[in-house]
Each structure stands twice: as C-alpha cells, then as structure tokens.
Symmetry: none
Subunit: 185 residues, 2 copies
C-alpha cells in the first residue's frame, strides 16, 4: 500500500522492460556466465553488460561470485519467481492509487457512490455528501459564468436531481449565484 511499494513496482518493471536485460535473464537461466562471456553472446561491450547486470543485481534477480578476477553471474531463481508472482497482485493494484490527489476517505466515498460516471444516490451523511459536492464542483471551470440551465445540464450528467445538487452546492459555497448566473469561486 505505501508509496514505497509503488516505486518498487515501477522499478521492477523498468528493470525487466529492456531487451538486453531480458536476454540476460534468459541466458543465465541456462547456467552461470562471466561478464566477458555474456558480452560476447550479446555482441555488446563489457561495460554495457556490467551496467545491466548491476541493475538486475539491485533487484536481487541475479547473484554474483568472484573467481579470481572473473565475476560470475547467475540467475536468482527464487527472487525471479517471487517477483513475477507479486508484480501485479490485486493488493498491489489498490496500492497504485497513492499520490493521486484526495485522501482515503474521499476515494472511498467516490468509489461507493459512483457507478461508472453516474451517481448511484446522493449520500445522506453530511460528510459524504460534501465529498460528492466538492467533486461535482470540479466539473465547473473556475471563473466561468453558467446559466441555471447549464448548471443543471452538467449536474444531470451525474444525477437526475440536479435541483437538489445545485441547492446544496450553493449552501456549501461551492457555487455562487447572482442575477440568475452561477460561477465557481
């Protein structure tokens, strides 16, 4: 759930989203190799391979042992299995929504009362209703003046009872009214 998770997930995908690194994993699935051997197999220079191996090692997807001056890399099978399992579990999915604005309560209310783009109902609780009204307020451009008909039309995209919604929004000063025209302050 925490933002670290999001970052870790993103880094995992980035590590795997590269042709060379995927090939490295495939090659190392056969057996262990030194950096030079890998470079030869991939037709790349040693520093390039070294760089990729370092990235895979950060995530613990490969391990390394030294033999004299040789650095011999191998696949870390368990880590790879764990990674692949955990990549897109549904718990992770929930965690993806983190630094999108809004707090947890707000998100929950929106989730509960919206069915697609339509409001299932207007919440009875003042606190929840307030969340919905604030969300609706965002559908109006600040500074623009709307006729009552326009306000109704916008609100009706979300719920048939635009009159109630409009009245409540005025009550919470989310919309203001003067001479029959409305605007968002």
């Amino acid at each position: 759930m925490p933002p670290e998770d999001f970052e870790a997930l993103l880094q995992s995908f980035k590590a795997l989203a590269d042709e060379t690194r995927l090939k490295l994993l495939g090659i190392l699935a056969m057996r262990e190799y030194s950096v030079e051997e890998l470079a030869a197999l991939l037709h790349l220079k040693a520093p390039t391979v070294s760089h990729h191996l370092a990235r895979l090692k950060e995530l613990n997807l490969v391990g390394m042992r030294t033999e004299g001056t040789l650095h011999i890399y191998r696949l870390n099978v368990e880590a790879l299995r764990d990674t692949s399992k955990g990549l897109l579990s549904s718990e992770k999915m929930a965690s993806l929504v983190h630094d999108v604005e809004g707090d947890a309560f707000e998100r929950k209310v929106l989730k509960d009362f919206f069915e697609g783009t339509r409001l299932k109902e207007i919440p009875a609780s003042r606190k929840k209703r307030s969340v919905i009204l604030q969300w609706l307020a965002q559908q109006f451009e600040p500074g623009v003046r709307y006729s009552e008909a326009q306000v109704n039309e916008i609100l009706q995209r979300y719920h048939p009872d635009s009159a109630t919604l409009r009245r409540e929004m005025i009550g919470e000063h989310l919309l203001q009214r003067e001479q029959g025209s409305y605007w968002r302050p």
Copy 2:
C-alpha cells in the same frame, strides 16, 4: 518459445514500466473515467493521457466506451490478471533463450529434457545427464550450506526423484556433503 513471445513479453513490460501508465491503471481500478478527468487527476494534458491509454488499450489492459463525445475508459480486470500471471512464468523464461549463440549441444539437451520448469526425465546418457546436473547445480548458491531437506525441496521443483539427482550430483562433485549438510563448491 518462439521469438514472437519474447517480443510480446518485452512489450508487456514496457507498457507497465511507466509511472503515468501505472497510475492510470491504479486510478481506473477505482472506477471508469473520461480522458479529461484522467488528465486533471494526473496534471497532464489530454493528448498525453490519450497516448498512454492507447498503449494500454493495445495490450487490452483497458477498455473504452463512448458516451456522446466522451471516451470513457475502464480497467480490464481479467486481462490484467492474466497478464500478471503470465509475465514471468518459467515457460516464458525458457523461451528467453532464443537467438543467443553458445553451446549448441547443451542448449539442445536442456530444451529436450525440460518441459517448462520440470524435467521430463533424467537422461540415461552420461553426457546428457551431466548437462542437466550442471544446470541443477546452478540452482544452489555457492558457499551456502543446505540441509538435506532443503536440497530435496529445491531438486523436487524440477523432478520428483530428488534422491537420485542428489546422489548423482555428489558423484560428479557438483555438490559436496559433510555431517549431513550440503554445499556447492
């Protein structure tokens, strides 16, 4: 196994290896949204969001319906689940080794005797068996000491007859034993 698979796998990872696209999936996990709404939530311009949605749609990770001129996107939960399951299955791993040169005999033996991650059988020919045993040896971290139970557990991931495999590995000095604990030299 074919190269198309490799390419598809790479494309899947690339699609998911982007902060904005991951956030989109997270947001859409809550409920469906129009392009404009998503752009507002992410503080991005509509064309940018449109571009990312198109990429996710290519992989069928999101779906879209139109409502007037609005294009309303939603998460394709099943596709996401399938994708996450299939991303790093061991059958895929085996397929990663495709256009890499290297010891042809060794590759052929591994290809012939592995079915996904499981050994179809233990080769009768000494030479082929040796290739398999060496591959299995790579599954052990050098220097780490394993109990017999741990050794069996690891070997049984690949073949039920862990006892034979363990004995043969000792015989080829791929594993060593002392006082009931095993290690890879």
